[in-house]
């Protein structure tokens, strides 16, 4: 069972403010309970399948020029200004 505190902690890790904690707790709880069906799939020993690529197919070590991209809140010198860190 997950508690409202668990939800609060994860939401804060995700940098999310949630208004109706009770509703989130219920719905996320239902989702996680539903995920529990994975326990009965009997796949403990299954090896993971992944996509593979050869080193020669990777990008070459070449500079790809790009027009300057303007970000939000850049100052005159070009820095991005970000709120202070706690």
């Amino acid at each position: 069972m997950i508690t409202e505190d668990d939800i609060k902690q994860v939401a804060s890790m995700m940098r999310l403010d949630i208004e109706d904690k009770d509703d989130y707790t219920k719905k996320v709880q239902r989702m996680l309970e539903y995920f529990d069906v994975l326990d009965s799939a009997g796949v403990q020993d299954e090896a993971i399948l992944v996509q593979h690529i050869n080193i020669s197919q990777l990008r070459a070590d070449k500079h790809i020029p790009h027009d300057t991209i303007q970000c939000k809140s850049q100052d005159k010198r070009g820095h991005l200004r970000v709120p202070r860190l706690s």
Partner: protein, 471 residues
């Protein structure tokens, strides 16, 4: 006149001078106005007529034009377009203008397509009803009280109502095929890695693909021949073979079709449509047997575990620091600021991110995420074995009829189960098509056919058996 022709037909008419791009685009814009109550579009191209005129001039001057010259194409709002906003139907990206075009956009523009507008969707593609758009739902043209499916609902409605000949959607767990089925159009999810995802704003990047929607299978083939194949900007496309129009794929004689037992519908009216399709296939010499894919029973749980994990990570970049909307820094500490800025995400998006914070985290890792990856792997091996014996696998695309707006919005899990027939193609990376085939209560029903990886062209060619005369 509503431009109801297929893209293939329109290309012929425009380039032969039988009609003009300007006329077709003009009619399309008029139709967009007439169907605006369905809310298929989020942003329009205000230069469409001008662009059409330029194409007409080039044709009149005898210049060579592209293979999509003057064709109105709509684009789901999670595919980056330099000229038009790209918002993923989220207030988090209100008015966002990407500084680059997605690979698919470059490829269709190189063929002189006209991007008519950007279509509505569930916020960041999370949903299967287009009810979760931050800008309001899209309505089903067959019955405005039911959902059009999703998340590419706007794209499906646009194709169904002739406001575009082709639309590019994205399919993470059925998001192209599900609305195609609900709106009565053709929708195609290619093999994973067949179409470049460069410029597709990620929801669950390990399984999703851009997919075309159209009113005919030939149009899907035309579109695939332009957008598919390797792209240096997407490493996962490195080993793909593009779909070619000229090549004739040596169709298997009397192909073997597997009917997936786990994907049968409990609604006999829907199941009857599947039976009709099987009869038609049999009459063309196909050999149809029931097959079993045991892992399908776990597929939806695995699907939501993987997508929650990936979305929590993929959407972390929206912190309103490098791009985003105006919100003053004054008085905020960095983490407080980011939290406050991210309040613009909708509830469904937040819910899935929070679930995604639980499943891969240290305490829950073995419990959910790794098991989901193992189910995905087992399912892939299972389907690969099945394809050793069978050429194609068949089921209905969605086991239920389009539901009423608001009906499932409050229960995440009942919503999940609508995906049961579609997520398998995403988890295993296989190509899958949804073909409109029959109507129940005035609502369309689609048939889904899957093939083995990289057999996209073969699958599309085969699909004509069910697709040719059902327009």
């Amino acid at each position: 006149m509503i431009p109801a022709q297929t893209a293939t037909e329109l290309v012929r008419m425009i380039s032969s001078g039988e009609t003009t791009a300007e006329y077709i685009i003009g009619q399309t814009l008029k139709q967009i106005e007439d169907t605006s109550h369905l809310h298929a579009f989020l942003h329009m191209n205000s230069n469409a007529i001008q662009q059409a005129k330029e194409i007409d001039h080039r044709i009149q001057r005898g210049e060579k034009v592209g293979r999509l010259a003057g064709i109105p194409i709509s684009i789901k709002d999670n595919i980056c377009t330099k000229q038009y906003p790209t918002t993923c139907a989220s207030h988090m990206l209100d008015g966002y203008m990407p500084p680059y075009d997605a690979t698919v956009i470059r490829r269709i523009l190189d063929e002189d397509a006209i991007i008519i507008g950007k279509t509505n969707m569930d916020e960041f593609a999370m949903g299967l009803s287009t009810e979760f758009s931050a800008y309001g739902p899209t309505l089903n043209p067959h019955n405005t009280e039911v959902v059009p499916g999703g998340s590419s609902g706007g794209s499906a409605v646009s194709v169904a109502t002739h406001t575009s000949a082709i639309s590019l959607g994205s399919d993470t767990g059925g998001s192209v095929r599900n609305p195609a089925s609900f709106c009565g159009v053709v929708g195609f999810k290619p093999t994973y890695g067949m179409i470049s995802r460069y410029g597709l704003i990620s929801y669950a990047n390990s399984i999703e693909q851009i997919g075309p929607m159209a009113r005919s299978i030939s149009d899907i083939q035309l579109c695939m021949s332009i957008v598919s194949g390797p792209d240096v900007n997407d490493n996962t496309t490195a080993n793909s073979t593009p779909v070619s129009l000229s090549e004739q794929y040596n169709a298997t004689e009397n192909p073997k079709i597997g009917i997936i037992r786990q994907m049968a519908s409990k609604d006999t009216r829907i199941q009857n449509i599947l039976n009709k399709a099987i009869e038609e296939l049999s009459s063309h010499g196909c050999q149809c047997d029931e097959v079993s894919l045991e892992m399908v029973d776990y597929s939806v749980a695995a699907y939501y575990t993987i997508t929650s994990t990936e979305v929590a990570s993929n959407l972390a970049r929206y912190d309103n620091i490098r791009y985003g909307y105006d919100m003053d820094y004054t008085g905020y500490e960095y983490h407080q600021y980011v939290t406050k800025a991210r309040a613009r995400f909708g509830a469904e998006v937040k819910r899935r991110m929070i679930a995604g914070g639980f499943v891969p985290s240290a305490g829950y890792a073995g419990r959910y995420f790794l098991k989901a990856l193992k189910v995905k792997s087992r399912l892939t091996r299972e389907i690969n074995r099945t394809f050793e014996e069978y050429d194609y696998l068949i089921s209905v695309t969605v086991p239920i009829l389009p539901f009423r707006i608001g009906e499932k919005i409050d229960d995440p899990v009942s919503m999940f189960l609508v995906d049961i027939n579609t997520v398998t193609a995403n988890l295993t990376g296989k190509p899958a098509i949804s073909i409109p085939y029959g109507v129940v209560d005035g609502l369309p029903v689609g048939i889904q056919i899957m093939a083995n990886s990289m057999e996209d062209a073969k699958l599309l060619q085969f699909s004509h058996i069910l697709g040719d005369d059902t327009q």
